[in-house]
Symmetry: none
Subunit: 145 residues, 2 copies
Protein backbone atom coordinates (compact mmCIF):
# COMPACT_ATOMS: atom_id res chain seq x y z
CA UNK A 1 0.00 0.00 0.00
CA UNK A 2 1.33 3.40 -0.95
CA UNK A 3 0.29 6.19 1.37
CA UNK A 4 1.79 9.49 2.43
CA UNK A 5 3.57 12.16 0.46
CA UNK A 6 7.26 12.89 0.36
CA UNK A 7 9.24 15.63 -1.32
CA UNK A 8 12.58 14.80 -2.92
CA UNK A 9 14.79 16.89 -5.16
CA UNK A 10 15.62 16.02 -8.73
CA UNK A 11 19.21 16.75 -9.77
CA UNK A 12 20.39 18.16 -13.12
CA UNK A 13 20.74 14.67 -14.50
CA UNK A 14 17.05 14.07 -13.93
CA UNK A 15 17.49 11.61 -11.10
CA UNK A 16 15.09 11.48 -8.17
CA UNK A 17 15.08 9.35 -5.12
CA UNK A 18 12.05 7.13 -4.71
CA UNK A 19 11.03 7.53 -1.04
CA UNK A 20 12.25 4.59 0.99
CA UNK A 21 8.78 3.68 2.23
CA UNK A 22 7.60 3.21 -1.35
CA UNK A 23 10.59 1.07 -2.21
CA UNK A 24 9.82 -1.00 0.87
CA UNK A 25 6.21 -1.34 -0.22
CA UNK A 26 7.35 -2.62 -3.63
CA UNK A 27 9.53 -5.24 -1.99
CA UNK A 28 7.13 -6.28 0.73
CA UNK A 29 3.70 -5.95 -0.88
CA UNK A 30 4.61 -6.94 -4.42
CA UNK A 31 7.86 -8.88 -3.97
CA UNK A 32 9.10 -7.20 -7.15
CA UNK A 33 11.07 -3.98 -7.26
CA UNK A 34 10.33 -3.32 -10.89
CA UNK A 35 7.99 -0.47 -11.66
CA UNK A 36 6.54 1.37 -14.60
CA UNK A 37 6.42 5.15 -14.69
CA UNK A 38 4.33 7.01 -17.22
CA UNK A 39 2.10 10.00 -17.89
CA UNK A 40 -1.07 10.09 -15.85
CA UNK A 41 -4.24 9.73 -17.90
CA UNK A 42 -6.11 12.55 -16.22
CA UNK A 43 -3.73 15.04 -14.67
CA UNK A 44 -0.47 16.83 -15.24
CA UNK A 45 1.51 14.37 -13.22
CA UNK A 46 3.28 11.06 -13.61
CA UNK A 47 2.11 7.78 -12.18
CA UNK A 48 4.23 4.95 -10.90
CA UNK A 49 2.80 1.44 -11.12
CA UNK A 50 4.30 -1.59 -9.47
CA UNK A 51 4.86 -4.06 -12.30
CA UNK A 52 1.91 -6.16 -11.19
CA UNK A 53 -0.51 -3.22 -11.15
CA UNK A 54 0.73 -2.16 -14.58
CA UNK A 55 -0.09 -5.60 -15.94
CA UNK A 56 -3.61 -5.27 -14.55
CA UNK A 57 -3.94 -1.89 -16.19
CA UNK A 58 -2.90 -3.35 -19.53
CA UNK A 59 -5.39 -6.19 -19.08
CA UNK A 60 -8.12 -3.64 -18.52
CA UNK A 61 -7.14 -1.91 -21.75
CA UNK A 62 -7.34 -5.16 -23.68
CA UNK A 63 -11.02 -5.42 -22.86
CA UNK A 64 -11.77 -2.23 -24.73
CA UNK A 65 -12.54 -2.73 -28.45
CA UNK A 66 -9.59 -1.45 -30.44
CA UNK A 67 -11.88 0.66 -32.56
CA UNK A 68 -12.46 2.92 -29.59
CA UNK A 69 -10.65 6.20 -30.28
CA UNK A 70 -10.11 6.94 -26.59
CA UNK A 71 -8.32 3.63 -26.24
CA UNK A 72 -5.97 4.53 -29.02
CA UNK A 73 -5.24 7.86 -27.41
CA UNK A 74 -4.45 6.17 -24.14
CA UNK A 75 -2.22 3.70 -25.94
CA UNK A 76 -0.27 6.53 -27.47
CA UNK A 77 -0.10 8.85 -24.51
CA UNK A 78 0.25 6.42 -21.65
CA UNK A 79 1.57 3.12 -22.91
CA UNK A 80 3.98 4.58 -25.44
CA UNK A 81 5.60 6.97 -23.02
CA UNK A 82 6.02 4.48 -20.22
CA UNK A 83 9.36 3.39 -18.89
CA UNK A 84 10.12 0.24 -16.95
CA UNK A 85 12.76 0.76 -14.31
CA UNK A 86 14.16 -0.15 -10.94
CA UNK A 87 15.71 2.10 -8.36
CA UNK A 88 19.52 2.12 -8.43
CA UNK A 89 21.68 1.40 -5.39
CA UNK A 90 20.99 4.87 -4.01
CA UNK A 91 17.26 4.39 -4.47
CA UNK A 92 16.94 6.70 -7.47
CA UNK A 93 15.43 6.49 -10.93
CA UNK A 94 16.25 8.53 -14.00
CA UNK A 95 13.25 10.26 -15.51
CA UNK A 96 13.48 10.87 -19.27
CA UNK A 97 12.97 14.42 -20.46
CA UNK A 98 9.63 13.69 -22.11
CA UNK A 99 8.14 12.59 -18.80
CA UNK A 100 9.72 15.46 -16.89
CA UNK A 101 8.21 17.90 -19.31
CA UNK A 102 4.76 16.41 -19.15
CA UNK A 103 4.63 16.82 -15.40
CA UNK A 104 6.54 20.12 -15.51
CA UNK A 105 9.03 18.77 -13.03
CA UNK A 106 11.72 21.23 -12.06
CA UNK A 107 13.52 20.69 -8.78
CA UNK A 108 11.36 19.62 -5.89
CA UNK A 109 9.23 16.61 -6.71
CA UNK A 110 6.30 15.35 -4.68
CA UNK A 111 5.63 11.65 -4.40
CA UNK A 112 2.04 11.03 -3.35
CA UNK A 113 0.90 7.57 -2.40
CA UNK A 114 -2.46 6.64 -3.84
CA UNK A 115 -3.03 3.17 -2.37
CA UNK A 116 -1.87 0.97 -5.26
CA UNK A 117 0.04 3.52 -7.34
CA UNK A 118 2.13 6.62 -6.69
CA UNK A 119 1.58 10.04 -8.21
CA UNK A 120 4.60 12.17 -9.05
CA UNK A 121 4.02 15.93 -9.11
CA UNK A 122 5.99 19.08 -9.42
CA UNK A 123 5.86 20.79 -6.04
CA UNK A 124 3.94 23.85 -7.25
CA UNK A 125 1.24 21.94 -9.09
CA UNK A 126 0.89 19.65 -6.09
CA UNK A 127 0.40 22.55 -3.70
CA UNK A 128 -2.33 23.83 -5.93
CA UNK A 129 -3.92 20.43 -6.03
CA UNK A 130 -4.23 20.01 -2.27
CA UNK A 131 -5.30 23.56 -1.53
CA UNK A 132 -7.97 23.83 1.10
CA UNK A 133 -11.03 24.60 -0.93
CA UNK A 134 -13.60 22.75 1.07
CA UNK A 135 -14.96 19.45 -0.14
CA UNK A 136 -18.73 19.52 -0.43
CA UNK A 137 -20.14 17.74 2.66
CA UNK A 138 -23.23 16.64 0.74
CA UNK A 139 -20.98 14.94 -1.76
CA UNK A 140 -19.22 13.08 1.05
CA UNK A 141 -22.58 12.06 2.44
CA UNK A 142 -23.60 10.81 -0.96
CA UNK A 143 -20.43 8.77 -1.32
CA UNK A 144 -21.09 7.18 2.04
CA UNK A 145 -17.94 8.37 3.79
Amino acid sequence: MFIGNYANTMDEKGRVNIPAVFRDALRKDYDDERMVITRDIRDACLRMYPMHEWQSFLEALKKIPSSNPTLRRIQRRVVSSAIECMADKQGRVLLPISLREHAQLSKTVQFAGSSNTVEIWDEKLWQHEIEDDAIDPDMLEQLGI
Copy 2:
Protein backbone atom coordinates in the same frame (compact mmCIF):
# COMPACT_ATOMS: atom_id res chain seq x y z
CA MET B 1 -13.45 1.33 21.25
CA PHE B 2 -11.94 4.79 21.60
CA ILE B 3 -13.64 7.14 24.05
CA GLY B 4 -12.52 10.00 26.23
CA ASN B 5 -10.08 12.79 25.56
CA TYR B 6 -6.50 13.20 26.69
CA ALA B 7 -3.98 16.00 26.33
CA ASN B 8 -0.31 15.24 25.64
CA THR B 9 2.54 17.52 24.66
CA MET B 10 4.38 17.37 21.36
CA ASP B 11 8.15 17.96 21.55
CA GLU B 12 10.30 19.92 19.08
CA LYS B 13 10.95 16.80 17.06
CA GLY B 14 7.21 16.44 16.46
CA ARG B 15 6.75 13.41 18.66
CA VAL B 16 3.58 12.90 20.71
CA ASN B 17 2.60 10.19 23.07
CA ILE B 18 -0.49 8.23 22.09
CA PRO B 19 -2.59 7.97 25.29
CA ALA B 20 -2.10 4.57 26.85
CA VAL B 21 -5.81 3.71 26.79
CA PHE B 22 -5.84 4.11 23.01
CA ARG B 23 -2.77 1.96 22.60
CA ASP B 24 -4.45 -0.65 24.77
CA ALA B 25 -7.56 -0.45 22.62
CA LEU B 26 -5.47 -1.07 19.50
CA ARG B 27 -3.93 -4.15 21.06
CA LYS B 28 -7.05 -5.56 22.64
CA ASP B 29 -9.81 -4.61 20.20
CA TYR B 30 -7.88 -4.90 16.96
CA ASP B 31 -4.97 -7.16 17.90
CA ASP B 32 -2.79 -4.95 15.70
CA GLU B 33 -0.85 -1.96 16.94
CA ARG B 34 -0.42 -0.48 13.49
CA MET B 35 -2.36 2.67 12.78
CA VAL B 36 -2.79 5.24 10.04
CA ILE B 37 -2.86 8.93 10.83
CA THR B 38 -4.03 11.46 8.27
CA ARG B 39 -5.85 14.72 7.65
CA ASP B 40 -9.50 14.65 8.57
CA ILE B 41 -11.79 15.12 5.57
CA ARG B 42 -14.06 17.63 7.22
CA ASP B 43 -12.26 19.47 9.99
CA ALA B 44 -8.93 21.03 10.82
CA CYS B 45 -7.75 18.03 12.78
CA LEU B 46 -6.04 14.72 12.21
CA ARG B 47 -7.66 11.32 12.43
CA MET B 48 -6.10 8.10 13.61
CA TYR B 49 -7.44 4.87 12.16
CA PRO B 50 -6.55 1.42 13.43
CA MET B 51 -5.13 -0.40 10.40
CA HIS B 52 -8.29 -2.46 10.04
CA GLU B 53 -10.57 0.57 10.00
CA TRP B 54 -8.29 2.24 7.47
CA GLN B 55 -8.59 -0.75 5.16
CA SER B 56 -12.36 -0.47 5.37
CA PHE B 57 -12.14 3.18 4.50
CA LEU B 58 -10.01 2.40 1.45
CA GLU B 59 -12.50 -0.26 0.42
CA ALA B 60 -15.26 2.33 0.57
CA LEU B 61 -13.22 4.62 -1.64
CA LYS B 62 -12.61 1.87 -4.19
CA LYS B 63 -16.35 1.59 -4.77
CA ILE B 64 -16.45 5.13 -6.11
CA PRO B 65 -15.69 5.47 -9.84
CA SER B 66 -12.28 7.06 -10.27
CA SER B 67 -13.69 9.60 -12.68
CA ASN B 68 -15.39 11.29 -9.73
CA PRO B 69 -13.46 14.51 -9.04
CA THR B 70 -14.35 14.55 -5.35
CA LEU B 71 -12.84 11.12 -5.01
CA ARG B 72 -9.59 12.29 -6.50
CA ARG B 73 -9.49 15.22 -4.11
CA ILE B 74 -10.04 12.90 -1.20
CA GLN B 75 -7.36 10.57 -2.52
CA ARG B 76 -4.87 13.40 -2.66
CA ARG B 77 -5.74 15.07 0.59
CA VAL B 78 -6.45 12.08 2.75
CA VAL B 79 -4.66 9.07 1.30
CA SER B 80 -1.63 11.01 0.15
CA SER B 81 -1.16 12.71 3.47
CA ALA B 82 -1.50 9.57 5.52
CA ILE B 83 1.26 7.89 7.46
CA GLU B 84 1.31 4.32 8.64
CA CYS B 85 3.00 4.01 12.00
CA MET B 86 3.29 2.24 15.30
CA ALA B 87 4.02 3.76 18.65
CA ASP B 88 7.68 3.46 19.66
CA LYS B 89 8.82 1.96 22.96
CA GLN B 90 7.82 5.11 24.80
CA GLY B 91 4.38 5.04 23.19
CA ARG B 92 5.02 7.93 20.81
CA VAL B 93 4.62 8.60 17.11
CA LEU B 94 6.40 11.16 14.94
CA LEU B 95 4.01 13.46 13.09
CA PRO B 96 5.39 14.85 9.82
CA ILE B 97 5.34 18.61 9.35
CA SER B 98 2.61 18.52 6.71
CA LEU B 99 0.19 16.90 9.16
CA ARG B 100 1.22 19.16 12.02
CA GLU B 101 0.53 22.17 9.86
CA HIS B 102 -2.83 20.99 8.67
CA ALA B 103 -4.08 20.58 12.24
CA GLN B 104 -2.14 23.64 13.41
CA LEU B 105 -0.55 21.57 16.14
CA SER B 106 1.83 23.51 18.35
CA LYS B 107 2.53 22.11 21.80
CA THR B 108 -0.45 20.66 23.62
CA VAL B 109 -2.33 18.12 21.58
CA GLN B 110 -5.79 16.74 22.33
CA PHE B 111 -6.62 13.13 21.57
CA ALA B 112 -10.37 12.63 21.35
CA GLY B 113 -11.82 9.15 21.07
CA SER B 114 -14.53 8.83 18.44
CA SER B 115 -15.67 5.20 18.77
CA ASN B 116 -13.66 3.53 15.98
CA THR B 117 -11.17 6.32 15.27
CA VAL B 118 -9.38 9.02 17.25
CA GLU B 119 -9.35 12.71 16.48
CA ILE B 120 -6.18 14.70 17.08
CA TRP B 121 -6.62 18.42 17.71
CA ASP B 122 -4.54 21.37 18.67
CA GLU B 123 -5.60 22.38 22.18
CA LYS B 124 -6.93 25.80 21.15
CA LEU B 125 -9.01 24.57 18.25
CA TRP B 126 -10.31 21.80 20.45
CA GLN B 127 -11.41 24.22 23.16
CA HIS B 128 -13.26 26.18 20.55
CA GLU B 129 -14.85 23.01 19.21
CA ILE B 130 -16.34 21.94 22.54
CA GLU B 131 -17.40 25.41 23.62
CA ASP B 132 -20.93 25.67 24.86
CA ASP B 133 -22.61 27.28 21.94
CA ALA B 134 -25.79 25.31 22.28
CA ILE B 135 -26.66 22.38 20.09
CA ASP B 136 -29.95 23.06 18.35
CA PRO B 137 -32.66 21.08 20.23
CA ASP B 138 -34.80 20.78 17.11
CA MET B 139 -31.91 19.17 15.32
CA LEU B 140 -31.56 16.62 18.10
CA GLU B 141 -35.26 15.90 17.86
CA GLN B 142 -34.87 15.36 14.17
CA LEU B 143 -31.97 12.96 14.68
CA GLY B 144 -34.00 10.98 17.17
CA ILE B 145 -31.62 11.39 20.14
